[in-house]
Subunit: 245 residues, 2 copies
Amino acid sequence: MNPTIELLKSHRSIRKFKDQPLPDGLLETLISAGQCAATSNQVQAYTVIRVTNTENRETLAELAGGQPWIKAASEFLVFCADMKRATEAAERAGADVVRGMTEQLLVASIDAALMAQNVAVAAESEKLGICYIGGLRNNPEQVSELLRLPEHVYPVFGMCIGYPDHDPQVKPRLPVETILKQDYYDDSQDQAQVDAFDDTMHQYYLERTGGKKDSNWSEELKPLFTDKLRPHMKEFLEKRGFGVK
Amino acid sequence: MNPTIELLKSHRSIRKFKDQPLPDGLLETLISAGQCAATSNQVQAYTVIRVTNTENRETLAELAGGQPWIKAASEFLVFCADMKRATEAAERAGADVVRGMTEQLLVASIDAALMAQNVAVAAESEKLGICYIGGLRNNPEQVSELLRLPEHVYPVFGMCIGYPDHDPQVKPRLPVETILKQDYYDDSQDQAQVDAFDDTMHQYYLERTGGKKDSNWSEELKPLFTDKLRPHMKEFLEKRGFGVK
């Protein structure tokens, strides 16, 4: 394994950070490395908001469902899907533009994700730790208002960045053979593999919590499929001009 | 700049590949590095289809709008957003699951993108070249049928992987200051910066084509905003059980 692949395989979310700022210019280097990720037809449909205002950090920590590391991290970034800039550029160039298409929602969300993952890898290559914050989608309206996001821009997720002050284990993943299929989607082995992975995760939780957390993968997934998990997203996105048609 | 950041900054899409297979086990290593990317609540909402069947490769090259490198690449992967596996696992664990929520569409699409970007970086760290193929969304129904994708699984994009047989330039990106904003979305400088970037891209196109391509960023964006760009995506996704509510 080369050092880059070793780095990728050592990722874990960091939620405790040292009180140590990033050296001057490093954040810009990370963002610039992020921008080098592939982008659909070079549209670069993203904007990153770097939140330095302490009060806003506190508010975001609350809006994300109580995540104090948003305040404690050296940097907190909000990755936004941004179709505004490109649409307006095309419009100024004379295009009779159409807004609100679902394809544009996908392009912008995926562009933002590819870019963010490069930022994450770049940060980790500099011994920084990161944590994605999907919880911003708990209250996307309030987040958008706080960051003064205009129409055709929405907050996809946040990211805490800083020097790690704890050393959590790498979390297990499903076996490669479960998620990699040859030529066709064949899930005849999935259930047995998921059962085995439930055992893996059960062991992981027991070890990590000194026997306190008696759970597994399937159990932990249950809350993700209730109708309480961000049921507002469809209406929110449509209001922002995403996925209307 | 450390070697990983240098690697990230050297990315360019590769569309000409040597007739040279990947060493045994490397693809699995790349996928496994991909799986180490962050995943929303560990849901791992993705499946990758490795297409080895020559006839299917040809069909996919056509379905993607005529992209022969899909056939010529050593490997061609289709990254699918997959909510089926996790939903069924939660259901077997006793959850009264809800399907079709827009939040689930986002989670699965973003999970697939973060994972794919790690695969891309891992591949490039092994001197391989890659090219994302968003064109699979030109004909997502036919792609899904060909790969026998079930409900709650959809093809987000493809990726060609192989040893590069050309050496294209790195494509310019918008200035960091255009896409990185402090505390608030302030686009008062965007138009001037986009104008300058149009000049950068104009020069880039002229140089790359020996003076033949007289265009710029804004001009090239125009086709992305017509109502002909994948207007079927909303209906397609809903039919697949994504983003219904």
